[in-house]
Amino acid sequence: MPHVAVRDLSVTYEGKIGFKSTTVEIPDACITAVIGPSGCGKSTFLRCLNRLIDNTPGARVQGEVLIDGTNIYDPGTDLSALRKKLGLLSQRPQVLPMSIYDNVAYGPRIHGTRRRAELDDIVRKQLEVAGLWEEVHDRLHQPARQLSLGQQQRLCLARGLAVEPEVLLCDEPTASLDPVSSGHVEERLIELKSEYTIVLVTHMLRQAHRLADYVLFMYMGELVEEGPADELFSNPRDERTRDYVAGTIS
Amino acid sequence: MRRRLEEVGFRTLMLMALLSVVGALMLLIMVVAINGARALNWEMVSQVPTGGYYLAGGGGVLNAITGSLALAVTATVVAILFALPVALFLQSDYGGRTRFAVVVRTYLDLLWGIPPIVYGAFGFTLMLYMGLRASLLGGVIALTFVELPIMARAMEEVLRTIPRALKEASYALGATRWETMRWVVLRQAMPGLVTAVLLAFGQGIGNAAAVLFTAGYTDNLPRSLFEPVASLPLAVFFQLGTPFPEVQERAYASALILLVIVLVISIKSRLLGRLLSKHNVLD
């Protein structure tokens, strides 16, 4: 049983279709890219996995999302524990209004880690994993806002990793970054994929080529095709996938 | 467990806070409505006070209703003449990026904060100095001071929401600044501007402190700019001050009339805003 499995999941926004009934299993310990043109429902799909969709007014979810075998849409689900398991890297880096250190320590503190030494270790370790330690170790207590966008996004990655998730949900994590910063973030994701199940939403085909081991292609609210990356890119079965991969539709 | 407890505790607290504020305000409206409705009748709104009115004789507060409308309408019109240019000026198309705009904004904030009683008292001194007595004109001047900053600030906020690209589309067609303002900006902003005007009007008509000395009080209908006028807030205030329960009851009725006028204007401004926005290109 993989960490993430989706059964008959569908979303409607005030009657309009977000995406149609979808069943899929996300393979562990690799990067799964969700590709498709904007508005195809891929971000909505991602938001269902950690139930952030709950905060969207008018959205109705049907079906099941199994995280480690438990349906997270069962009533009585502990949202806090669930979201601790699933880290999120959003489109724009969303740093919290506090220092660099406190951004990383935020999650562990919430979940009960209080000892300073322990927090220091976590902050250092995760900033190193995110490849940011060298750049910020001498100004940990300055506002996170002062970092460049690319650094902010890596900070968000470190912050997400600090709560020791099993899954990383990435919603176009490089969309607002310059090419160099994007490269940094991509490198990190490749390094992390042996330990985490990574779901990467992207509308950049080339990024999916570079990073993905497994690919889901969504089109107009429908999961059209899924498969290992090389197979899907070199030999798509569905016509729409072929057109999208070839660049004739977008 | 402690986390769950804190979560539930504060959520309850927040809900209670909101309910208590809204509840208290609803209670206020109910108390005024119930007490006011008892003394309210056709005579109250259709006649001026007769000789023995303040000794519980006959008559009504038509003088105050018309007086308040005259004061607030005139003051609002005068305030528009200043507030609209100031709001236009504060856009980047005119002086918005200059140092002078910072000055104007600062002083506008200051004017906005000055208590109406200060305007009233100062206005009165000024009138004495100029040999004027309490009159419609004096009240209008004091009320204009009260309304101007409210209106200008609200208008500026409305104009700030006009997208740059919309103005640029007009400039790109060769329109001058004024033409862009006149035909694009003001049109797009019209619903918001109307709301701003009515907001200021509502504040003006309900203000007692500013007109207390400047407008005076009279049992007559407003006749000229240079004679005293009555106003509803002061009608409430003075009638409450008499020792006769019947007259005090009329204060409740006057308060209800005032409350209804203010609420109707406020609701109207919202509806009007929606009506006027039919040509708007952006939501």
């Binding site: 952030l52 905060n55 949202l79 806090s80 979201r83 999120l88 959003s90 969303q94 740093v95 919290l96 209004p97 506090m98 935020y106 919430i110 979940h111 300055q142 506002p143 806002r145 002062q146 968000c156 949900l169 | 979560e7 607290l13 927040m14 806070a17 909101l18 504020v21 305000l25 209670l27 206020l28 100031v86 000026f89 504060l90 002083y107 200051l110 904060g113 000055i114 208590p115 109406p116 009683i117 200060v118 305007y119 009233g120 008292a121 100062f122 001194t125 200008a152 001058t176 004024w178 907001l199 504040q203 309900g206 203000n207 007692a208 000395f213 205030f237 409450l240 308060a255 609420l263 919202r270």
Partner: protein
């Protein structure tokens, strides 16, 4: 061609000139007001030192004694009571409205709050006389007398009529609350959704997100809301005048009557002409109000700037 452009150009120029010219009115009016008030308060300052005026407690205009302290204390006391009551309640209510209420509740309540912010002061004053004053006199004061007699400020020192600092504070708290809620909610709404979601996705609960993220991110706006509410309360006249009792004394508890500066001006202005210096004294009172309000506006802006700098924006 020129003939067609010319009127347009003229129109453009005159419009620009008008707009600039009328904008000068704002600073001119303000400065004129300040100068006028200062000039009119000079006579009393010539005979008395400002320090004396502000610290003396006797108010006997007929004898030429003008001690402002009771009025200053009255203003501060009423304003503080109002803020102690309204600030926490309003911030919690705004938080609920911004982050917990469903979208339907919000679309219903938000316009209602704005609507209530427009209710005239005399109506609040009337409500104070009909409901708040009797409640204080009949229930709250006796309760405090029997249960809180050991707490300074909170136990009635004399027979309580209800016309008191507490009644004034409560009426003002109610009056200023739609305003504070409205400004505070705007500040909370301005926080990007993504920041809250970032916190939620780390497993923080809604309240934890509000506490550590929203309150922090919106702090400048929330501080601004409270300070603006404070300065509004300070200058309110009619509502407080009607319920606060208007006795020129240094109050010993919140159940005593007080006499705020605004009420002093409103109650005495008509009759001041016959007494020497009275009119100058009241102008000085107006000037004091103006200076204090200007100070708080300034302080609010500085605070907002300082907080913003610390947040690194």
């Amino acid at each position: 061609m020129i003939s067609r452009i010319f009127p347009r150009l003229m129109q453009e120029r005159s419009a620009t000139a008008t707009i600039w010219l009328l904008s000068f009115a704002v600073p001119l009016l303000t400065v004129g007001l300040a100068i006028g008030l200062t000039l009119r308060s000079l006579p009393i300052l010539r005979d008395n030192s400002l320090i004396d005026l502000l610290t003396r407690t006797t108010w006997r205009p007929m004898a030429g004694e003008f001690g402002f302290l009771p009025f200053i204390v009255g203003t501060i006391a009423v304003t503080l009571v109002a803020m102690v009551i309204s600030a926490p309640i309003c911030l919690l209510a705004a938080l609920h409205l911004a982050e917990y209420a469903g979208s339907q509740t919000r679309t219903l309540l938000r316009p209602l709050v704005d609507l209530l912010a427009g209710i005239p002061a005399v109506v609040y004053g009337l409500f104070g006389i009909l409901v708040v004053v009797p409640a204080v006199g009949r229930y709250i004061a006796p309760f405090a007398e029997s249960h809180l007699y050991f707490v300074p400020w909170l136990s009635p020192q004399q027979h309580a009529t209800g016309y008191s600092i507490l009644a004034g504070g409560m009426v003002l708290a109610l009056m200023v609350s739609p305003f504070i809620i409205s400004v505070a909610e705007d500040a909370l709404q301005a926080i990007p959704v993504g920041v809250r979601e970032a916190s939620l996705s780390l497993g923080a609960t809604s309240w934890e997100t509000s506490k550590y993220v929203s309150l922090r991110a919106a702090l400048p706006g929330l501080v601004g809301a409270v300070v603006l509410g404070f300065s509004r309360t300070l200058g309110e006249t009619m509502a407080v005048l009607m319920v606060v009792g208007n006795v020129a004394q240094i109050p010993e508890s919140i159940f005593d009557s007080a006499y705020p500066l605004t009420a002093l001006i409103a109650n005495n202005y008509g009759e001041m002409m016959s007494i020497p210096l009275f009119d100058s004294a009241l102008m000085l009172a107006s000037l004091l109000l103006l200076v204090v309000v200007a100070f708080f506006n300034f302080a609010a802006q500085m605070l907002v700037l300082a907080v913003r700098k610390r947040a690194g924006e």
